[in-house]
């Protein structure tokens, strides 16, 4: 009966969401009282969807194939962790995960939002309920995860083998937490537009949510990138695949949103930007959901193509985004200008940041949608590949990265560029020195690589300029400097760390792109290949049964240039239930670099082996982790916490 109770719980949550939406929009002016009801409703929705989700997980663990979803996507021999993660490794289950995270954020707003004005809280929760009702309705009526299958088959169809990986347990929940988290910013924007309460305090409430979602999204994208890198067996870490772009666009817009909200909170400026970005970021998340879930795109993310679902999501998309922009158009003219500032100022710099990021979103959007529209309207199928994105996106990001270190050093309202430049001389000199050193050691070739390195080092070192400046290192006794450094607000540290992480990622991208080496060869056991100073001995080849697959295993010994040796193992697996093959590459990490071995199909008693050497590739993800860490540090700053403004006031008034 647990499955049916889960089904009922999801339906009850849907019903509560529908009534909350209607009640919230009708009575929001009654303030505190309706807010209390809606808060209770948000908590109930969370509990009920959690029950529904748990019922699905329980059915998968028990291999209850009377649940259609389990019969189609699970297998009794699958290891436990993949039985659980298999719940969201399909269209219906992933929608339940989406709704679960949506209501979890709604419940968090209800829990932490006690200090919010009642009308604003009511409108935020009503909008959250609207989204929950829309998505739960979509799930229940077009793709019900609780559909039953009688008589139940004795065995399930198993999960796509590519998805039978720890990545499925981590990547979707993180990414969804990012995607869906921005719904809170969206709901706050809608609430602000309806109530007309668009002020500085609003930005203070929104910023932690934007920061939290952005942190999750950063980790989710990085995790997805690393998963694709090690599982798909092509050694690529970013493909400009439409599905990747779908997650990257909200990230770019969310990054701009974070910076805008900061300005609005501190200087009461950039209001239109902040509201606009709140709407656009979540709209892009929805667009991503539409692209992935409608079956328009064929990829590992597309579990089922069903035109009805696509149309319904498109209608939801039009309703939510169209409604939001309609409200925006109604209200935009009444938005009061806030703090005044000169063109050269912190505010001005952040506008430049927004412009570049927004343009980058536009470029990626065009590159992603243009082929789809062309195909739909004219019937011509073209592909917009990596060259387009590398050129347009690279051209937009290079100038942004160039001016990035200036931003944190500029003063509010009216700034002194020359003064900021003087404080960055040290960072610039250090960046040039490192670039020349590396180019000299590695042999100079005519390419863009040294320029890329210079840019990466400039961003990385420039990130610390503000820390150096404010701690007065070198101009004060060391102890005093350290005391100042420790006493700096966490947001300053967070900014420095995030920008440093950006620089680290740039360095990783440049190094991998410029100096990657590749070898495709045929090897037999006992033979040896060489690449970039690494010697790869093919030791043995054999077959090994796994829990639900048969594996062809190739064992290699890698001798590094330094002489150390490591044993490693590359697999090709054939899954019993589906007969589908996967490759499990052997990846060995040396410092920040990796050696990547992939076993091809055995043919005529020989084996095709692909070997890549990827210098400093891990910096790409390491940088992303630093950025996410910066997000966490910023969230721990007392000043962003909604619940503790008094104590924060005391802290902030201490001399910095």
């Amino acid at each position: 009966m647990s499955i049916e109770l889960g089904h009922f719980a999801l339906i009850l949550a849907f019903a509560i969401a529908v009534v909350s939406t209607v009640g919230g929009y009708t009575f929001w002016r009654s303030g505190q009282r309706i807010a209390l009801v809606l808060s209770q409703g948000a908590v109930l929705q969370f509990v009920l969807v959690a029950v529904a989700f748990a019922a699905l997980i329980q059915a998968f663990i028990a291999s209850d194939f009377s649940l259609l979803l389990a019969a189609s996507n699970s297998h009794s021999l699958k290891p436990l962790i993949f039985k659980i993660s298999g719940v969201w490794g399909n269209h219906e289950g992933s929608m339940v995960l989406w709704i679960f995270i949506l209501v979890a954020f709604g419940a968090m707003v209800a829990a932490f939002g006690r200090r919010l004005p009642g009308d604003l809280l009511a409108l935020v929760l009503a909008t959250q309920s609207l989204l929950t009702a829309a998505f739960a309705g979509f799930t229940l009526f077009t793709s019900n995860p609780f559909a039953r299958l009688i008589p139940a088959p004795i065995e399930g169809n198993d999960l796509n083998p590519v998805l039978q990986d720890i990545g499925l347990a981590i990547h979707p929940p993180l990414l969804y937490a990012g995607y869906v988290g921005f719904s809170i910013c969206f709901s706050f924007a809608i609430a602000a537009l309806i109530s007309g309460r668009i002020d500085q305090a609003w930005a203070r409430w929104v910023r932690p949510w934007a920061m939290l979602s952005w942190t999750f999204l950063t980790l989710g994208i990085a995790m997805g990138s690393y998963w694709a890198y090690y599982e798909l067996g092509w050694g690529g870490w970013w493909f400009w695949d439409p599905v990747e772009n779908a997650s990257f666009m909200p990230w770019l817009a969310g990054t701009a949103l974070l910076h805008s909200a900061l300005v609005m909170e501190k200087r009461n400026a950039l209001k239109i930007w902040t509201i606009f970005l709140s709407i656009i970021t979540f709209s892009l998340s929805l667009l991503g959901t539409f692209l992935v879930r409608s079956g328009i795109l064929t990829s590992v993310h597309t579990f089922a193509s069903d035109p009805t679902r696509g149309l319904v999501i498109l209608a939801l998309l039009a309703l939510v985004i169209g409604g939001a922009f309609f409200l925006f158009a109604m209200r935009a003219s009444t938005l009061r200008q806030g703090g005044l500032f000169a063109p050269v100022s912190r505010e001005g710099a952040l506008i430049i940041n927004n412009l570049f990021l927004a343009t980058a979103v536009g470029a990626v959007l065009v590159g992603t949608l243009y082929p789809l529209l062309l195909d739909a309207l004219v019937g011509t199928s073209i592909s917009v590949g990596a060259p387009f994105f590398n050129l347009t996106f690279g051209a937009l990001m290079a100038p942004l990265l160039l001016v990035l270190p200036f931003g944190p050093l500029l003063a509010w309202k009216r700034a002194d560029v020359v003064g900021a430049a003087q404080r960055l001389i040290g960072a610039a000199a250090l960046a040039i020195f490192c670039t020349i050193l590396i180019s000299a050691l590695g042999g100079v070739s005519i390419s863009l690589a040294p320029l890329g390195l210079l840019l990466g080092f400039w961003v990385a070192f420039g990130a610390f300029a503000e820390l150096v400046e404010r701690s007065r290192i070198g101009r004060m006794p060391l102890g005093e400097s350290i005391r100042r450094l420790v006493g700096l607000p966490r947001t300053v540290w967070s900014t420095a760390l995030a920008h440093f992480g950006m620089g680290v990622t740039v360095l990783g991208i440049v190094a991998t792109t410029a100096w990657e080496t590749e070898l495709v060869t045929t090897l037999n056991p006992g033979e040896t290949a060489e690449l970039s100073g690494y010697t790869i001995d093919f030791d043995s080849f054999g077959q090994q049964p796994g829990p639900n697959y048969m594996a062809d295993e190739a064992r290699f010994t890698i001798t590094a240039p330094g002489g150390s040796t490591r044993q490693t193992l590359a697999d090709r697996r054939t899954y019993v239930a589906t007969g589908m093959p996967t490759t499990e590459a052997a990846i060995e990490t040396y410092g920040f670099s990796q050696l990547y071995l992939q076993l091809g199909e055995p043919l005529n008693d020989t084996h095709v082996v692909r070997i890549w050497h990827k210098p400093y590739i891990t910096l790409i993800w390491f940088g992303a982790i630093l950025m996410a860490l910066a997000g966490v540090i910023s969230l721990t700053d007392r000043r962003v916490r909604v619940g503790a403004p008094r104590r924060a006031a005391k802290l902030a008034s201490e001399p910095a």
Binding site: M1, S2, I3, E4, L5, H7, F8, A9, I11, L12, F14, A15, V18, V19, R29, S30, G31, Q32, R33, V37, S39, Q40, G41, L44, A59, A62, S63, D64, F65, S66, R115, L116, G118, L140, F146, R148, I150, I154, D199, R204, W234, G236, K266, A411, W412, K413, R414, R470, V520, T521, T522, G600, E601, L603, T606, V608, A648, A649, P655, A656
Partner: protein
Amino acid sequence: MLFWFIATVITAIACAALFYAAGRRAVNLSDPDLDDANSHFRLVLAGIDTDLAAGKLGEAEAQAARGELAREILRLKAEAGRVAGNSLDFGRPALLAGLGGIAVLALGLYGLLGSPNTPSQPLAGRAEVAAQSIDLDAAITRIEAQLTANPDDLRGWTVIAPAYLELRRYADAARAYRRIIELSAPTPDLQTSLAEALMLDAGDAGSPEAMALLREAAAADPAHALSRLYIAAELTRAEQYAEAAQAWQAALALSEGDEPWLAAAQQGLAVAQNGGVAPANDAEAEMIGQMVSGLAERLAAGGGSVEEWTQLVRAYLVLGDADSAQGAYDDAVAAYPQAFDRGELDTLALGAGLTLNGAQP
């Protein structure tokens, strides 16, 4: 019934929680709006001082920022006064209507979508699984023990003989069939089964005893097809093609036109008549040739996907035309210079001994 009871209770609890939330008075929050706004503005004011001290704001700009803040506070206070009178509260009827709506919507919708009487069926608790998990090895061990005690148990041997064949214990199967023949009488079917076990046990070596048994079976029953098929197959294996052809024809003569072995027997006859080599089907070969040349022309003229190139190279390799395969592979590499794009093609070509850019890896 139990389900509907639980569902109703859950709905009632949810509605009660909402009802009491509406009844709770916000006693501790006398004027939360103003309170929070004030604390926010205190923070902004403190922030201005901090920024001034850190050099993030000039003296004049800090003054301007304080002015802006003051104006904002005045504006908000004026606005709060205007909004206060514009309150729209909801009464008990609206609340009850909402709660009723939730109950009706949830229970009604579930009635529409759900299947309350379908029980859960976890795999571990299912009868089929229990039946399936009977261990064949354990059952055989048990029957073997019985047969050791009572070697004349015809039924035991009859059960265990096909099980041995299934488990590929051919010698044991032959022993079992021999015993059955001893205990009952030799029938063509039993003799054929024994011969099958003997031939499988002998592998490629062939078994004269099996052949004798099969001929005996065929002689005993002029309509016994299975023994004749085995004879024909064994003769073909032994490369006695003339006799094999006769045997295949003898078996085919018994066919009524819908036997599952018909196609195999016809092919066996063709092989035997052709001296042991499967004859090429000319019409089929010609069709394949046309398809390949059509694909080659299309790819040469307008290019194509890497999958189509792979198909062409594979077709040439199957036809044994290595030069054309190499040519097609070279063209494909020219069309797709990035190794990244060519995954399967490289695997196929390099595995078949073709060269990449003139150099064999």
